[in-house]
Symmetry: D2
Subunit: 476 residues, 4 copies
């Protein structure tokens, strides 16, 4: 079976060339600081045998007929999209946050569509290459990072207008054995934990941007690739440990004249399809957000409901009102993902594309509500997440008794449980991890302004104008 | 074929007993003031042959196998619900507003579920009665009004606690031939245009509320029924006429000791199922709102886009931003309806019930956004809808030329078209009809506060609490 | 004393030349359809002796030392501005809406500033003219309309770029005895009830717009002026009458080659000061909104609180929450007006100018909250304002008893009082008047987008950038 | 002169008894971890000679006539309140955040009012004691912490109903030399940096809560006081240092049977005045928030404007729109504070009390907008604050060049300046400090729900009901 164990995943990573720069050092993937993030990806391997995910976490490869991880699957139907959305939500609930493994496969689904269409239009040969690569990817149950966002320089200028042409990733040389690329992709969330870096364009491109219209997949330790990484974890615990202690990482992935062999190149100069690819990856990735964001809402909702209970005000009118609002937020997003799946359309390659309007309104709603969800949690949690004394004081001889006395809230809930909840709330609201979750939740997969653009560019506003003209009796 | 023509529908109504009180008179259904509202219902008969609605506006009766109007259909599948939602949107777009005919069939779907379950539980015999009635309803292609909202008296008190027990509709006597009911149902939107009044309970009921736990269907001119009616229409036009000139009506339907024969009684004293019925009608009706509200958004969107065009600012950033927001509002609501349809469940009667969470988050979102949609339209339309001179001034000799000169906006759009648009905008924003659309759009089918209650009562908040406990390491 | 009685005001108007076009007719100011609006203005004369307004409704003219109506006063101090704001709120509360008489004096205050500054800069002689006119205006206790908004044609073009140059009011000829102007001003709310039309520019002007840079005051029946008028009133009552039955009017005021004598011309070609005047009138008028909008909130708040009481839910948590929000809205706006008054600055003419930032944030907040206030009122009022039967049914023999029975809500409140409240709520929410109040409340005095522009153009954003640079350690 | 230097302030603190528990240790005020927070308070001493604050940062004591720090002043006029508000804003701008020294003097102003009124009512002798204490406080230019929030246990219960009576601070014994108190106050922001702990009640109290109705001031190292402290600082910098590196601290201040001498006791058992004191401290402190929150908005605004500039999109429409909204938020809050100052009323003690409605609507608006302000900053800053590599990578040999190349945005801004800005943005959005600022900004001085309660309890809603009754013609 083409599914790896967590250990197999780890072993492969540990053997990779050191190309991660962090805190002034060049480190390997076995550096202990990377462990919390690596453990998170490993979960997606460990959960394969979770009975509650049976039928959800695996799929049948349309290329080989083998059972594979759904996280390596090219979606062949509405049902595949529904299952991917549902799986994403389930995994994120269990992990307590983003599971980081959707972006690679989101990129590959988009590439499957675009390479076929490009071949059909221009007679290129990207799609057969892609199919071969995809078989390898599935057979080895790989983890992919999608490197989309360029560093972008002056935001008011297109790639070809930048003072420094490298501010968008570009082809600097075409050779017999492949293309040489230079540039830097930012915000690459799981890059240090990935087998492959899958690069796709980040924006609409004009004819003048041909050198920047490039897509490929390449092992994450290929010579010339330098990952400049920052990690984010909840505050480390001394005493109150929980089973899961996960982290995130983000890489500025520098391509310092990296040679990409031709069999790994999926677009090279086709600006029209580069634009489509940028948009399609966004669509697949935003569809993934319709699964992960409701999971985040579930966590916020659970925490908000629990702290209200512990405070003895779980039944008060304003609390119930706010919980309802949280539910509505999460489930509207999830509903949009369902609608996008049900109303998906097959591309020429057979890959199903989620409906672009529903996908975008779902991700949009998640984005515009995100800070308000944190506000609601902070509102119901009160000030203690911000002022909670250190763990030591709850365990040290001089203060333990006092802390256990004064943290008490509703009768029948132990001081330890009250403490555990507020320690977690402090992580959710008042640590670096919380800030990263906010900013990431706003911008990841595309900021609300990007979804608004996608919505209006794809909506039939003219039919609504005709409608109102009819009701006005306007005939021109 | 069991489908009436508009003329057949009108003829039957014109023969009904006069029991409509309006403007100090007792009038028949042929009173000209009722025409705009009656025409609207008639549309649903006339559209049966609209090719763009083929396959949507009819359905196959599960009781007789005959082709019937979908507006008389008991939903047998997710697909039926998807089609009902889609049909509702299409018809409302064409009618330029609420088509008024969903409520009757929404009530009947709810009754189909509850009568079967009640029979299964208590050994009553409501369901066979209901099936017989339903055959009659479909065979005659009837229009039903759902009389749900009681006048309710003191809102802080239950039915049995009110000073006047009649403030909720109740059984005052049980006879051999049927039950005698007394009370008054309010906000009965299409009552004067309906063949049947279908009464269902309006709220959760306790054991003490048994006399108020009653449901039935009865011809709208049955002795003892008095409809106290108010109509609402856009301002009447003198010169600029449009094909459609529709109106709404609302009835306070008084039941002045009305005898309901037993074969028309569908619940009588079963408080548990009365509560379920109240909730289920709301669910079906809110599901209908996921079809009609997006149509209202389409109209607002079209008008907003068109006026921006005419003003010459259709491409400006803030306009596009606001159009995107409107699209997101309408399509999130529609997406919720799709999700509710896809995730529907069959009841014991075989009737499909839309998912209650998705239905409610959809209607909720429509409700909380409604006034903001009007704000957006007003924003883009500017002040003229409020200050537009009368039609006469655009046609009279003394002023026509001046009006045509000074209404001009973007070149290439005629004065007449500008005028037509602003006349319609004035109707949409600044006439009684507009206010009724706002209040009705907020409260119809249940105010946002009702959906919030439905949402939290039906959501598995506990699973979210358990989830956060797991992440906190709390085991109790 | 230079204060007229209401009768004196009416008499003067009745003698004016007929130049009002309405419903296809040319009518005089004594036309009964104009009465509700005229009565509203008359209130400001009648209230002069209201003891609760003593010290507020009159002021001492800085030109003559005489006691005059404050509605004819040029503000000489912060205290004057505070009193004008307070008076506006008191009068609007008593009138149940906009009192219509602020715009004229707002325009004159702005002109007092600009004419002096223009004279000081360019050596023109506008200010002495203005002072003479002002003495006349005060001595005769006149009512002024401010005609600011041009019809504007294509909104993406400046005055000089329009296809038809008359789409902004302009000087078509300069003569010895005065200037001849042509164009049309829209949304002139009290024009048919005004003694004088005071025209000011509507936007920033460039050098090329010199012909459009004109300001003047002229009797409202001057030859060539044609007022094309639409009136708005609450629904007329048959039985339940209230003391006040006021209306609004709006005029498209056409200047069909009107000669303005030089002693009435206050700017003519000075584009820089025309721009300043446009902005300054907006500032004074928005400052008036900080008085009138809180009064509107008071009315909405009172209605919302009373209906919740009558419904028996006045003490429920969600009701109290919404009342608090309404209070916060109204009082933030009023607070902004206080701050603007206290932080006012004297111009060279001695006239005090309210602080432009506080004035604009106040009007902005009122604008962005307006539809939400109506939503709150609709929310608490429920559906009955939209579906209330006609008055006849509450008084006719056949239905009176039923209506009185079924309108009952909380014990202890008579059916008549319940009816009176819902009749008023229906006017506030569901009649043409309500829609006009919404659109007018959004756009009157400048839409929120205009205040946002004023805010950012006048705010020292650079000082905030320098601040953050200091904290970043950025020295350039 | 009664004003200390920063050194004098520090020296006194360093001599205090060790009673701070942090990270498992008992530490003194000279512990280096406390330095960033202590430096912040020290600023308020150092700034006394800042010429830009002349006339603002000092005041004349009404008790002694001496020049004192305004941060030790009892407000004698509207002007005093205006200056306190303005000073707070200026100091917070310079400090880059909360200056922590308002709470002590806010508490003392409230006590000045209540002790006088209590004496007048009950013949107690608190006010003379208070005056003596105040002279000492001013003469020594002390820093006070206000310990208000009790830990509160079960939020649905009053003090006397709690399982453990100590969950609200209470008098356990009255002795000849004073009272003995026990309990714990939470969220005591500047406690470890304060000379005095000033305890006031946290809520309305009934007759049964007399033991909990206590107020006093006592040196922060009095025997029995244990401060359990957590500190919060921005991430420490290695390379890019800024002049200011401030921190916050919060103490759970345990009163483990602490003897309070009678001359330091300001209420003891007077539940009515305890309730008033709770409300009055909140009022003064919320008035302070009308100064500090606009400063926070200034910082967010400056950062948002600067990052948009650096990104090359400073002039785009959506950026300008968002900046306008930020300005409106900050200035509405500031305006409310101005109005509260101008409309202040003198108490019997002569102390001016800011208007309670304006104070609360100001703080309320700040609270409900706070998360949205962070959202706006995150929106304009993009994803980089969440993913910015460590400082080391910007300075280490292996990566410096790449980092400087790829952080470039608009031409003309150096890589270092871009880096400095994003480093600060990362602190503002994505570090523990940011989360604490959010939660503190929401709850500090009272959560929005507390202000809503204060607003409706103090507003004349009845006058608005009477108003609407008048317009309805309702006479009862």
């Amino acid at each position: 079976m083409a599914i790896r164990t967590a250990d197999q995943y780890r072993e492969k990573l540990y053997k990779m060339r050191k190309n991660i720069y962090m805190g002034g050092e060049l480190i390997g993937r076995d550096d202990p600081r990377l462990k919390p993030g690596l453990d998170l990806i490993a979960e997606s391997f460990e959960r394969v045998n979770d009975p509650s995910l049976k039928g959800l976490i695996t799929a049948t490869s349309h290329l080989t007929g083998e059972e594979i991880s759904r996280l390596c699957h090219i979606h062949q139907s509405s049902d595949d999209l529904l299952k991917k959305q549902d799986l994403t939500r389930q995994l994120c609930r269990k992990a307590g946050g983003c599971i980081q493994r959707c972006m690679g496969i989101d990129a590959l689904n988009a590439i499957s569509v675009v390479t076929k269409d490009c071949d059909d239009t221009f007679g290129t040969e990207y799609y057969p290459r892609f199919v071969e690569f995809m078989k390898y990817f599935q057979a080895n149950d790989l983890v992919g990072n999608c490197a989309q966002s360029d560093v972008k320089g002056d935001r008011s200028k297109r790639p070809f207008e930048q003072s420094d042409p490298d501010l968008y990733l570009r082809v600097v040389e075409k050779k017999k054995e492949g293309v040489v690329v230079r540039g830097c992709k930012a915000h690459n969330s799981n890059a240090p934990f990935s087998d492959e870096i899958i690069a796709v364009p980040t924006r609409l491109m004009t004819d003048k941007d041909a050198d920047w219209a490039v897509a490929f997949s390449i092992p994450a330790d290929t010579p010339g690739i330098k990952q400049v990484v920052r990690i984010t974890t909840p505050r480390e615990r001394k005493h109150i440990k929980t089973k899961h202690f996960f982290g995130l990482a983000d890489s500025m992935t520098v391509f310092d004249d990296v040679l990409i062999p031709w069999d790994r190149v999926f677009l090279c100069g086709e600006t029209y399809f580069a634009s489509i690819l940028a948009m399609l990856f966004a669509t697949y990735h935003r569809h993934s957000y319709t699964g992960c964001k409701p999971a985040m809402t579930d966590l916020i909702l659970g925490a908000a409901a629990l702290v209200a209970d512990y405070n003895g005000v779980g039944d008060s009118s304003h609390v119930k009102d706010k919980l309802s609002e949280l539910i509505a937020t999460g489930e509207l997003v999830f509903a949009a993902g369902i609608a996008a799946s049900v109303k998906s359309t097959p591309a020429n390659s057979g890959t199903h594309i989620p409906n672009i309007i529903y996908t975008n309104v779902g991700r949009y709603h998640a984005g515009v509500k995100l800070y308000h969800e944190y506000e609601t949690l902070a509102d119901l949690a009160g000030g203690l997440p911000a002022t909670l004394p250190y763990e030591d004081e709850f365990f040290g001889d001089q203060t333990r008794e006092l802390m256990e006395k004064y943290i008490m809230r509703r009768d029948g809930v132990s001081a330890e449980d009250q403490h555990r909840l507020f320690r977690t709330l402090s992580d959710m609201l008042c640590c670096a991890h919380a800030g990263v979750a906010q900013v990431g939740g706003l911008h990841g997969g595309g900021s609300p302004i990007m979804e608004k653009i996608a919505i209006r560019n794809n909506y039939d506003i003219d039919s609504c104008k005709r409608l109102i003209k009819m009701h006005c009796g306007i005939e021109t």
